[in-house]
C-alpha cells in the first residue's frame, strides 16, 4: 500500500492506494472535481451556473451527479443540509477562499435572505433567482466516494471526510484544540467531521462561520464545536455531521434515530466528548 498527501479543494487530501496509478487517478479526480465544482474559480462550471440568470440550466454529467448527491443529502437530513445556501455564505463574507476572508468592522449585519429553493431533474437544475449553489463539503465527500468505488484508492480522506474499503482503517478524530478526541475503528465505510471552530471571522460585533443554517440563512450558533458521523458513504457522513452540528443540543439524539447513521460523536463547547452507543472506539 502507498500513502500520499496533497492539497486540493482548499484542504489536505490523504490517499492510500495499492499502486501509483491509483494515486494518480485519485489526484486527477480531485483536480477535475475542483475545477468544475469550486465557487472560487471564475472558470468553473459552478461559477457559471451561479452567474447564469436563467432559472433552468443544463448540467454536465459530473455536475449533475454531484447535485444529485446534494439533493440526497438534503432529503435525508430533513432539509437542514442544503447546497442552496450559497447566497448566505456570500453575504456573510465568505466570498473568497478562506485564506483571503477578512474580518469586517462595519456594523450592519446582512439582511435576512429568503430560504433556498432548487431542484434537479436528470441533468436540469431549476432554482429560484436568488438561490446560489455551494457544493463545498458535498463535492469533497462525493470525490472520496467515487475514488474508492471506482477502485482508485483504498482509503481517501479530504478535509475531515473519509471513505474506506479497508477493514483495518482507524480514524483519529481531532478536537478543536488540536488534540485527539478519540480514535474510531471505521473499517469499511465512511466518516466525516464538521467543525465551526476552524473557519471563523467577524462581521461587525458578530462572529461568523462557514456553516450557514438554511432556516435562518445566517451562520449557525451551536454548543457543538465539532460533530463526527459514521455512515456508508462519505456524502452521507458529510451530511450527517453537518446536520448534527446545525441541530445543536438535539443533534446527537437526532442522529441516534436515523437508521442510515451508524454512530455519531460531538465535541461540546466545554471540551467534553459525547457519542451514541453505536461507536466502535479503538483501544
Amino acid at each position: 500500500m502507498m500513502r500520499i498527501v496533497f492539497p486540493a479543494m482548499g484542504t489536505t487530501v490523504d490517499v492510500t492506494a495499492d499502486s501509483d496509478r491509483g494515486i494518480a487517478a485519485t489526484r486527477q479526480l480531485f483536480e477535475n472535481v475542483e475545477a468544475s465544482c469550486s465557487r472560487f474559480l471564475p472558470e468553473s462550471e459552478l461559477t457559471r451556473i451561479n452567474d447564469d440568470p436563467r432559472i433552468r440550466v443544463t448540467l454536465s454529467p459530473r455536475m449533475a451527479s454531484v447535485l444529485h448527491a446534494a439533493d440526497h443529502a438534503r432529503s435525508i437530513t430533513d432539509g437542514i443540509v442544503d447546497a442552496g445556501i450559497g447566497s448566505g455564505v456570500l453575504v456573510w463574507g465568505y466570498d473568497r477562499t478562506f485564506a483571503a476572508v477578512a474580518d469586517r468592522d462595519e456594523g450592519a449585519l446582512p439582511e435576512r435572505l429568503p430560504a433556498p429553493q432548487w431542484s434537479i431533474d436528470g441533468s436540469v437544475l431549476t432554482r429560484s433567482a436568488d438561490t446560489r449553489i455551494d457544493l463545498g463539503g458535498i463535492a469533497k465527500g462525493w470525490t472520496c466516494d467515487v475514488a474508492v468505488e471506482q477502485g482508485f484508492a483504498a482509503v481517501v480522506s479530504a478535509g475531515g471526510d473519509v471513505r474506506s474499503s479497508d477493514a483495518e482503517t482507524t480514524v483519529e478524530v481531532v478536537d478543536p484544540w488540536g488534540a485527539a478526541a478519540t480514535t474510531i475503528h471505521l473499517g469499511v465505510g465512511a466518516l466525516a467531521t464538521s467543525s465551526v471552530s476552524r473557519r471563523r471571522w467577524r462581521v461587525g460585533a458578530q462572529e461568523a462561520n462557514h456553516l450557514i443554517d438554511p432556516r435562518t440563512m445566517s451562520p449557525t450558533s451551536s454548543p457543538v464545536l465539532s460533530a463526527t458521523a459514521i455512515t456508508t458513504t462519505a456524502v452521507e457522513a458529510e451530511a450527517a455531521a453537518k446536520a448534527i452540528l446545525l441541530r445543536g443540543a438535539d443533534g446527537l439524539a437526532w442522529a441516534d434515530r436515523q437508521s442510515w447513521i451508524s454512530a455519531a460523536l460531538v465535541v461540546w463547547d466545554d471540551g467534553n466528548v459525547y457519542g451514541t452507543t453505536g461507536l466502535e472506539l479503538a483501544a
Binding site: 500513502r3 500520499i4 498527501v5 496533497f6 492539497p7 486540493a8 479543494m9 482548499g10 472560487f40 474559480l41 471564475p42 466570498d95 473568497r96 477562499t97 485564506a99 483571503a100 476572508v101 477578512a102 474580518d103 469533497k140 482509503v155 480522506s157 478535509g159 482503517t169 482507524t170 480514524v171 483519529e172 478524530v173 481531532v174 478543536p176 484544540w177 478526541a181 478519540t182 466518516l191 467531521t193 471552530s197 476552524r198 471563523r200 467577524r202 450558533s221 454548543p223 465539532s226 445543536g248 438535539d250 446527537l252 441516534d256 434515530r257 460523536l265 460531538v266 461540546w268 466545554d270 471540551g271 467534553n272 466528548v273 459525547y274 451514541t276 452507543t277 461507536l279 472506539l281 479503538a282
Partner: protein, 127 residues
C-alpha cells in the same frame, strides 16, 4: 339468663368482648385512613394559581447548553473534562487582500507531501 346461655364460662365472655373490641377498632382505623387519603388526593388535584408572565422569554440556542439531549439508546461519554479547556484554536483571518479576485482556491499543483513514515491513523478534524 341469655348471657349465661351464650357465654357459659367466664373465658368465653372475655373472648367475645375482646373480639368485638378488635372489630370496632379496626373499623374506626379504616374509616379514618380513608378520610385522610381522600383529603390528600383533593389537595393534589386542587388547581395551582400561576401568575401570568410579565415578560416574554424566547429560548435560543446558546453555548451554555450543559450537554446534548439524551438519545433514546443512551449517551456515551467519550471524554470528560472537569476543567474547561482554553478557547479552541480558532483560525481567524484578518488579512485583507487588495484587489483579490478570490485567489483561485488552493493550488492543486503543489508538490505532494510524503506519506507518514509510520502507518498513522487517518485524521478527521473537520474543515
Amino acid at each position: 339468663m341469655i348471657l349465661k346461655r351464650l357465654f357459659p364460662t367466664r373465658w368465653a365472655k372475655i373472648l367475645a368482648w375482646t373480639g368485638a373490641s378488635l372489630a370496632w377498632g379496626t373499623t374506626l382505623i379504616a374509616v379514618a385512613s380513608n378520610a385522610a387519603a381522600t383529603d390528600a388526593v383533593e389537595q393534589q388535584e386542587a388547581p395551582v394559581a400561576i401568575d401570568p408572565p410579565t415578560t416574554t422569554t424566547i429560548a435560543t440556542t446558546t453555548t451554555t447548553t450543559p450537554m446534548p439531549d439524551m438519545p433514546e439508546r443512551g449517551l456515551v461519554v467519550v471524554r470528560y473534562t472537569p476543567v474547561p479547556p482554553p478557547p479552541p484554536q480558532v483560525v481567524t483571518r484578518t488579512v485583507v487582500v487588495a484587489g483579490s479576485s478570490g485567489g483561485g482556491g488552493s493550488s492543486s499543483t503543489a508538490a505532494a507531501a510524503p506519506a507518514p513514515a509510520v502507518a498513522a491513523p487517518v485524521k478527521s478534524s473537520g474543515s
